[in-house]
Amino acid sequence: MTAHTLRLRLGLGLRLGLGLGLRLGLGLRLGLGLRLGLGLCLGLWLCASAGWVFAQSSTEDITQYRDMLSDSNPAELYIAAGEDKWNTPAGPKKTNLKYCDLGLGAGKLEGAAAQLPRYFKDTDRVQDLESRLMTCLSQLQGISEQSIIDAPFGEGPKKDLNEIVAYVVSRSKGAIIKVSTQHPKEQAIYALGKKAFYTQAGPYDFSCASCHSQDAKRIRLQELPNLTSPAGAAQAWGSWPAYRVSNGEFWTMQHRLNDCLRQQHWPYPVYGSDLTIALSMFMAVNANEGLYQAPGLKR
């Protein structure tokens, strides 16, 4: 497929997606009595940009929304765009990504995402999906990792990366989460992630554990998974990356963690940094044996 038809297909797809989202959004507002959360949003740490606030239990509404969509998650559009990006030569080196090794061998995608993060010999570090894909984009296509790190979320090279992520995780849907702790570096980063999870700092004394270490709690109406329990970790880890209905964006785990660290009132995490990978390793190992259902559909 040429770059031109690719752009065309993507543009059409996204417009279609927007229409769908809008239509459903309107339907939901009337049907389920949602209210536009402008007022409420001021009260949410989470609501950086005004969005929807669900009037009933958020789980209940999102379940109904999922039913309405049945099998068609708007993330499908990202998956299709990502598949094209995987196969189409790009970057200064004009190569595709078929030789990218996500841990199971060059180009082997089936189930690969469900086993990340993991140790990679060539980089001599533990990598999550996003940081590993940055390695591939840089080594195979000659795209600078820094340009991806520096891009705003959802724009430019980060948008490209989102699409590739969507495609790769779609090839693990339904797999069992199996993250290794065999290698000493895997053990070390798990331990660092666990310590980070419980570390309190900043003006609000917050750690991840402040919000995510008990069952059945909420911030406003948003339910907080208990990421220290196997069931809670599997439910959460296994459903990211995800398409977010509230803002019509596709978010990877890197983006999810960034937004949680913002409301934790911490300094800014560098995209793909070891802290983010360590936290992911902690969650992923806790989620082991759970079902990998990404890409998910979220509030």
Partner: protein, 186 residues
């Protein structure tokens, strides 16, 4: 499975992974003794940890300041707005406007607001249930000022101690909870 990482390794990881952004400066990662204790659940559960927790509670207690004008109960209407707003303090905030209390993030307060969190207990009918005695009033002031004076590792932020709210704001929140005319005490 995993060995405790050394402080050096851990701090090096934080250093290469976090950067300042706006008002969220890197110094935010310097812990005080309360934060250091509460970051270590295994130690916290040991006899030595429990002793330390008492010590920490004591030092938080000593630092509580009563309102300088002697007034505890402010305007409940303004209090409600402060309880609603979760703004302030993140890298996305300018730091120029006063922060909100974000109380509804964790508490039910006026039951007309249905979008409330559950990390903390319900505060609906707070004064009606407890009464409006001097003891209740000072307890509540102290709690908002510094919840760690009662429970070293409470997950409630220390609003007065860490200057998240000013005195006037805390007085107004007191009004929301403890003015008999506040809708919370209907």
């Amino acid at each position: 499975m995993s060995q405790e990482p050394s402080d050096a390794d851990f701090n090096a990881m934080l250093k290469r992974s976090l950067r300042a952004e706006g008002i969220a400066v890197i110094e935010r990662m310097e812990q005080d003794t309360t934060q250091a204790l509460c970051s270590d659940p295994a130690f916290l559960n040991s006899p030595a940890g429990k002793q330390k927790a008492e010590h920490i509670q004591q030092s938080n207690w000593m630092a509580i300041k009563a309102p300088s004008d002697g007034r505890y109960i402010g305007d409940w209407k303004r209090g409600e707005a402060i309880a609603q707003s979760g703004r302030g303090g993140t890298w996305a905030d300018s730091g120029k406007e006063p922060s909100g209390g974000g109380c509804y993030n964790c508490h039910q307060i006026d039951r007309k607001e249905i979008a409330y969190g559950t990390l903390g207990p319900s505060l609906w009918n707070y004064g009606k249930q407890r009464g409006y005695s001097k003891e209740v009033i000072t307890y509540t002031w102290n709690k908002i000022y510094n919840a760690k004076a009662y429970q070293a590792c409470s997950s409630m932020p220390r609003f007065g101690h860490l200057h998240l709210l000013n005195q006037q704001q805390m007085q107004d929140l007191m009004g929301l909870l403890l003015d008999p005319r506040s809708p919370v005490n209907e």
